[in-house]
């Protein structure tokens, strides 16, 4: 078998490399190919994506958080800690082999992300840019979630506390520092103000975190400081998330460039703590504050007012387009572009509760729920059209869809790509358009039905999802019935193979 492995240890000088050696040598002796990424103090030489794609399983012999763990998503894995890899590499390898064999015999529903061909063959330019972007976005999402939900809760409390819809306005105009100074645990108004302020603080990190972790993805640790500083600068000049994207990439490349300078031996020691952060922050700060800030701020204002100005047919069209993108590749790059558009919209400062950005987020999330739900429904209404394994998948897909995990539909799409994708794209587009049309709003970036209490217009939420699910389900049934070979026959063959 072919394995990839990641090793790391607290100091990063000894066990990281001993574990790597032990796994490689033991693998060689047992006829397995083991390729190791040592995440030690020399930085890490990342595994070739092609090697990861070709691997049967992954061994995490890491005492530290595995960097960029998402690269291994879907691979059968064992998590053993670095010490066991050093002390008993043969046992560890045996466990890894067992994990691969167990995964091979498990129903596909338990590993929805392991869809074939979802992995890039090699890290082309576009793939890399997407990975950098997604590193930033994935670090930002928890901040959006924490901040968004706190603010939504604060608005809900405020409506009770002030007795009416005016509460949402009152809570933002209240004198927050006076409330903190004389906090009354029995006052709902005070709680609303505190939740609102806490959520606001979490939101304040959105653009810096986005920018910082894009830079981190590009340049590793040297990128963090200029990335965060650049993101904060973008916030200061009102360039928002667009500015944060620019500073993230600029900071990453500046830091990478400076860290590759050949310098005198005496200076080398202070490069990472003084020289790189100092120079790169200076460059990025000047760039954003003086050069790029104003044009980007103007573009941001343009985007916001364009969204706000959308009416009638064009708002439906935007919803349909975003929905179609969500349903097209089920968690792939097109889906992520639409999703990123939705999430970054949330990061715009000072939105009204019914701002178009919240409608976009709702349309995006609801559309992303359609495909798994529609296929789950289809396996129930027309079980004959699906294989045994697919019917099992259908049961999991209910939960995955309800939780906004579009990837739940991947096992279906992998087995019968064009019929499933056509149905999913059309159904998701319907949901997107209906959601926008009915003015459903959402302040949380994720969560499916579990964030229903935070949704503006819950009735519209249900209608929009149902409409798309029914359309997609009907389409997939229709398309599958036109197929010449009945699925039932294939199902038997598939189950026995």
């Amino acid at each position: 078998m072919r394995f990839v492995a990641v090793t790391s240890c607290p100091t990063g000088i000894a066990h990281t490399y001993m574990a790597a050696e032990a796994l490689e040598q033991t693998g060689k002796a047992q006829g397995h190919e083991v390729t190791v990424e040592t995440q030690g103090s020399i930085g890490s030489e990342p595994l070739d994506p092609a090697t990861i794609a070709a691997a049967d399983g992954v061994i995490f012999a890491a005492d530290l958080e595995v960097k960029e763990r998402e690269r291994f998503a879907g691979l059968p894995s064992v998590d053993v800690g670095v010490k066991r890899a050093v002390h008993e590499p043969a046992v560890v390898l045996a466990e890894a082999v067992a994990a691969v064999e167990a995964a091979a015999s498990a129903p596909a529903a338990e590993r929805p992300v392991a869809a074939p061909a979802a992995r890039p063959q090699s890290a082309s330019g576009a793939t890399k840019v997407r990975q950098w972007l997604m590193t930033g976005v994935s670090h930002m999402i928890p901040f959006v979630a924490a901040g968004g939900i706190l603010i939504a809760l604060s608005f809900m409390l405020a409506q009770v506390a002030w007795g009416g819809a005016e509460g949402a306005v009152e809570v933002t105009s209240a004198d927050a520092s006076a409330v903190f100074a004389s906090f009354d645990p029995l006052s709902l108004q005070h709680w609303a103000v505190v939740l609102n302020a806490t959520g606001g603080l979490a939101f304040g990190f959105l653009v810096p975190v986005l920018s910082g972790y894009i830079a981190y993805a590009i340049a590793d640790r040297p990128g963090l400081v200029p990335g965060f500083v650049g993101g904060a600068a973008a916030g200061l000049v009102g360039a928002g998330f667009l500015g944060g994207l620019v500073t993230g990439f600029a900071a990453g490349f500046v830091a990478l460039w400076i860290s590759r300078w050949k310098v005198a031996k005496g200076v080398r020691g202070i490069m990472p703590v003084v020289v790189i952060p100092l120079l790169s922050s200076l460059v990025i700060g000047v760039l954003m504050l003086v050069v790029l800030g104003r044009p980007i701020a103007a573009a941001m204002d343009g985007l916001t007012s364009w969204l706000g100005g959308l009416q009638g047919a064009s708002i439906l069209l935007l919803g349909a387009l975003l929905g179609a993108m969500m349903g097209f590749d089920l968690g792939g790059p097109v889906n992520k572009v639409a999703y990123t558009f939705g999430v970054t919209g949330l990061a715009t400062v000072g939105l009204a509760p019914d701002a178009p950005q919240y409608k976009v987020m709702a349309a995006v999330m609801l559309a992303g729920m359609v495909a798994p739900l529609a296929l789950a429904l289809a396996t129930v209404v027309r079980p004959r059209l699906f294989t045994e394994v697919e019917r099992e998948n259908g049961k999991a897909a209910w939960l995955l869809g309800a939780s906004f995990i579009s990837e739940g539909a991947i096992p279906f799409a992998a087995a019968d790509p064009w019929r499933v994708i056509v149905a999913s794209t059309v159904g998701s587009a319907v949901t997107g358009a209906v959601s926008m049309g009915m003015g459903v709003t959402l302040v949380a970036p994720h969560g499916g039905v579990w964030v229903l209490p935070l949704v503006g217009n819950a009735f519209g939420f249900v209608v929009a999802v149902l409409a798309g699910v029914v359309v997609a389900c009907a389409l997939v049934v229709l398309l599958k019935q036109t197929r010449k070979v009945p699925a039932a026959a294939a199902a038997v063959a598939g189950a026995e193979a």
Partner: protein, 150 residues
């Protein structure tokens, strides 16, 4: 040659120590005497702190205390053979061979790569056998030096 990881004065053959802290202290003092760490006490404390996280005993009765420390000037290795054995929580008994690795808090990659190479070597039964078979400090230092420069 300051580039060398280990010299004969950093090797203690047949050390009569009874605890792992003794061994760490003796070797840390040797590193200080050789001018490779600024202060043996500080470095020994950093090593003990790392040891407190998880003991570094390896299969084959080997102890591998190590630390990244501000006190370290030159990446270095000090070795002791302890016939009586000291407890490093090795899976198969007390450690009779102890490698102390000193890494600077901020080293450049070239030096850290040598340490990484050494760590990989420690997994080689052949290498360990020849280290244990070394008759004196000079031979042992030469064996290690050759292994990491190969």
């Amino acid at each position: 040659m300051t580039n060398q990881l280990i010299t004969a004065d950093l090797v203690a053959i047949d050390l009569a120590a009874t605890t792992k802290d003794d061994v760490i202290e003796v070797l840390a003092e040797r590193l200080a005497a050789a001018g490779r760490v600024t202060d043996g006490e500080t470095f020994a404390a950093d090593v003990r702190a790392r040891e407190a996280q998880t003991p570094t005993g390896l299969p084959g009765q080997v102890g591998l205390p190590h630390a990244k420390s501000d006190a370290v000037l030159t990446p270095s290795l000090a070795v002791a053979t302890v016939p009586g054995g000291v407890d490093f929580s090795c899976p198969d008994g007390p450690a009779t061979l102890v490698f102390l690795i000193a890494a600077p808090a901020m080293g450049d990659n070239v030096h850290l790569q040598i340490l990484a190479k050494l760590a990989r070597k420690l997994m080689s039964a052949e290498f360990m056998e020849s280290v244990r078979g070394a008759a004196d400090a000079e031979t042992l230092a030469a064996i290690v030096t050759e292994a990491v420069s190969a």
